[in-house]
């Protein structure tokens, strides 16, 4: 009988060693990752009342600071810029956890003066225990302007420096006051924010995926130019409705008419007027794979290394390769194509940057309590997304959109602006207006994506040209003035 008992015993000890493996997995291998998980409130809880580093803009504007209460000698976090930076800077709440840059740089911003054994050893070895601070690339003026101009709209603005990828603005609207989440009633406040109209805690700029609509025609055009499939002067049939192959469905233009004269239209005309009929046709001629190569070089289907984990924008080559009807719909940025406003700003930035896509970042440097730089962000290229010639041609096409096409309201007096409008199908009969673009054309210093979710207006007035383009125009002016 000892035989079977011994075998069960072996099983029991095998199971116990499984427990040992699992506990090693959580407490050793993945410990840091679990500690820093934004949903884990423990680090923030243990930080309660402790000093945290500064978060400042490059012009010195304070975005987050810790102020000491002289009576209790504990620190309270303040966010002087409030709502405008609520999603980018985030919050550090002992009850709700950390978010935004407060979460991404939690390890640098925290004070190490809390006498754990490892910190004590570090102090003896000469490590600086004071909290470090970070400098943010976003321009407070542009950020505030973007927040106020979005006003009552749900939406997002992302602006990038096209040559470096530095975030000049990243705004999501509606927003909230991060200081609401610092007190003892943070849990209630959080519950209220979650149920509030417009879901202000969602970061629409970097964490939500939307159909990019006609702004995606820039990607399709880049692929067409790169592969030589079509040029600005290439002509296409110009029907009122484009019949999707192998399907009963058709694609028509926003005004339910022909693109040009009903006989033929050029790619340039189609781009400037944003003709769905012709871009559906073009996308099918190009094929899913060729569009996919350009889209992926621009960041689609890639795990973009941003300050925090961002969702992958989607172009599904494999599925579209065998479904020309779906490909036609996807060619105009509908159906299953998805992108974050951050991704669409990257598309505009790549065109502006001579065809080279750059990794976006929002923190320029980390510095210590003496102001010495500890770590500086290096600009890193994602790679060439389109040839230099393609970028030049596409820029000319995008400039025509602003001078005479759907995006005239993005124009800025005295400045050459290039761009593309979009009006994606939203939920519940609403449309989602877009505008992406950059300026000045000769030496671009800003690439921008404006996205409005569920525009209340309908018909022509709800389009990207009338809703999103004017916002871009104003923000470009604010940027160039500063």
């Amino acid at each position: 009988m000892n035989g079977p008992i011994r075998r069960v015993a072996l099983g029991v000890f095998f199971c116990m060693s499984l427990l040992l493996v699992a506990v090693t997995w959580y407490q050793v291998v993945r410990a840091d990752e679990l500690r820093d998980d934004p949903r884990n409130p423990r680090p923030a809880l243990s930080e309660r009342g402790k000093e945290r580093g500064l978060i400042v803009a490059m012009d010195g504007t304070v975005l987050a600071r810790s102020v000491e209460d002289p009576e209790t000698r504990s620190f309270v976090r303040e966010y002087p810029e409030g709502q405008a930076f609520a999603h980018l800077v985030g919050y550090s709440s002992f009850l709700i956890g950390n978010s935004g840059l407060e979460a991404a740089y939690a390890g640098d911003l925290r004070s190490r003066r809390d006498l754990t054994i490892s910190d004590l050893v570090a102090a003896i070895l000469g490590t600086d225990l004071r909290p470090k601070s970070i400098e943010v690339t976003a321009d407070p003026e542009l950020q505030r302007a973007a927040q106020s101009i979005l006003g009552g709209n749900r939406g997002a603005v992302v602006a990038l420096d096209p040559s470096t990828g530095a975030v000049l603005a990243s705004v999501s609207n509606p927003s909230f006051d991060p200081e609401l989440l610092l007190g003892d009633d943070a849990a209630n406040q959080w519950e209220m924010l979650l149920t509030e109209d417009g879901e202000p805690t969602r970061d629409r700029a970097t964490l939500e995926l939307y159909a990019p609509g006609s702004t995606f025609k820039t990607v399709v055009s880049a692929a067409a130019l790169d592969t030589g499939t079509a040029g600005p002067g290439s002509t296409f049939d110009d029907p009122v409705e484009f019949q999707l192959p192998g399907s009963d469905a058709t694609i028509s233009n926003a005004w339910r008419g022909t693109c040009n004269d009903g006989n033929s239209a050029t790619m340039l005309q189609a781009f400037v007027r944003s003709c769905n009929t012709i871009f559906a046709d073009l996308a099918i001629q190009l094929g899913a794979a060729d569009i996919g190569i350009t889209a992926e070089a621009l960041g689609f289907n890639q795990d973009i290394e941003y300050e925090w984990e961002v969702p992958e924008s989607v172009w599904n080559t494999a599925e579209l390769a065998n479904d020309p009807a779906a490909l036609g719909q996807s060619g105009i940025g509908e159906r299953d194509v998805r992108a974050t406003p951050l991704q669409m700003a990257m598309v505009a930035a790549a065109v502006a940057n001579d065809g080279v896509a750059v990794r976006p970042y929002a923190v320029r440097r980390i510095f210590d309590a003496d102001g010495e730089t500890v770590e500086e962000t290096e600009v890193s290229e994602l790679g060439r997304a389109m040839t230099s010639e393609t970028a030049v041609t596409l820029t000319q096409m995008m400039e025509r959109v602003v001078t005479e096409g759907t995006g005239t309201r993005a124009a800025v007096p005295g400045v050459r602006v290039a761009g593309k409008t979009g009006t994606a199908t939203g939920t519940g009969g609403f449309s989602n207006p877009w505008f992406i673009g950059f300026a000045p054309v000769d030496d671009p210093s800003i690439a921008i994506a404006v996205f409005i979710e569920g525009s209340a207006a309908s018909g022509e007035s709800a389009g990207g040209g009338s809703v999103a383009a004017p916002i871009a125009s104003e923000l470009i002016q604010v940027w160039l003035a500063s």
Binding site: M1, N2, G3, P4, I5, R6, V8, A9, V12, F13, C15, M16, L18, L19, L20, A22, V23, T24, Y26, Q27, V28, R30, A31, D32, E33, L34, R35, D37, R39, N40, P41, R42, P43, L45, S46, T116, I117, S118
Partner: protein
Amino acid sequence: MGRTSEGATIVAASFLAAFGVALVNFAQGGSVDAQTGLTFLVFLLTFGTLYAAVRAFAPRATPLLIPPVVALVGLGFFEIYRLSPELAGLQRWWMVIAAGVASVVLLLLSKATTSVLRRYRNLILIVTVGLLLLPNLPSGWGFPLKGLEVNGSRLWIVLDLGFTEMQFQPAELAKLGMVIFFAAYLADHQKALREAHRRIGPIRLPEPRQLIPLVLAWGGSLFILVWQRDLGASLLMFAGFVLLLYAATGATGYLVAGGLMTLTGAAAATVLFDHVQRRITAWIAPFEHYQDEGFQIAQGIFALGTGSLSGAGPGLGRPDLIPNASTDFIFAAVGEEIGFAGTVAVLAIYALVVSVGLGISFRSRDTFRKLLAAGLTFVMAVQVFLIIGGVLRIVPLTGITLPFMSYGGSALVGNMVLIALLLRISHEEAA
């Protein structure tokens, strides 16, 4: 290790528990108060009583069993104290009661020896089934003994003594009754069960009629699952029986059949019952269901990860964020505050207790005592694996307590009696 060093180790382990309480006090209030001394005294009283009972009624018992148990109770106790000084106060009373009951068990068995358990196995079975049915008593009637429903499970009885109410989970004692009955039954029928089987290829299959006890046990555990919604006790009882059946017969077929029956029961329960389904969901994807089903498991894992190598320190972590930290999730709470060092120590101590228990079984010459020692150890080991494995996402969470460490009077009494039985067997077999 002799009796004297056993006593010294018990004092040392009691000191450890008191030291844990002192550290918690120091971390939270900055001072060390009377709780520390009280804890030390209660530990000395509790385990001193048990130690004295062993010296008196089972003097040849192994000295290796009580010290690790004191260490486990101590590690659990300081964490319960950290989570709720109030619960810790109650737990101290339960410790004294548990030691008393275990000592009485040792006293009674010193006259009758464990063979009495074998002789009255059918009576024990009836009492056990009665115990299991108690929570199904109505909650609203006038009789002072009532059933109680907590979190959708009927596991509790309330004894209304007029001046106070006592709550008890009879399954914790029924567990022991079941093992005693299984061991006695299998010892009596071992031969028949072992020899009646057919061979099909490499697997030995039992004769159909020999499967009847297996089917009955399965039915019984399903009954517990359906009527009392106690997933843990149900699984524990069936696993204990199957392992013991295999130990008695060596027929692999029983393991296979038992495994298949467990899977069938589990699959059916998943389809039929919401509460089982929720546990499966929480097991597979706790972080995807962070806001609801998965919250507890996710918090447990965050607690372990944040605890990392050396832990936050007693009283310095936030194990109070985990729902049911003092019962089901005591392992995660300990892991947060004393870290990987602490969790490895806990696992090592359980491994020691299990080894000692199995050692007692190996050395037993009497079939019943051999099976009883093995059965008691198996049930404890399975329970440790199910609950820690549940916290660590190896198996779905079954909602049973961690022996010796979790808060809970019934569990403490049941497990101390289990230790008393093992001690008594080791005494009887050490001729």
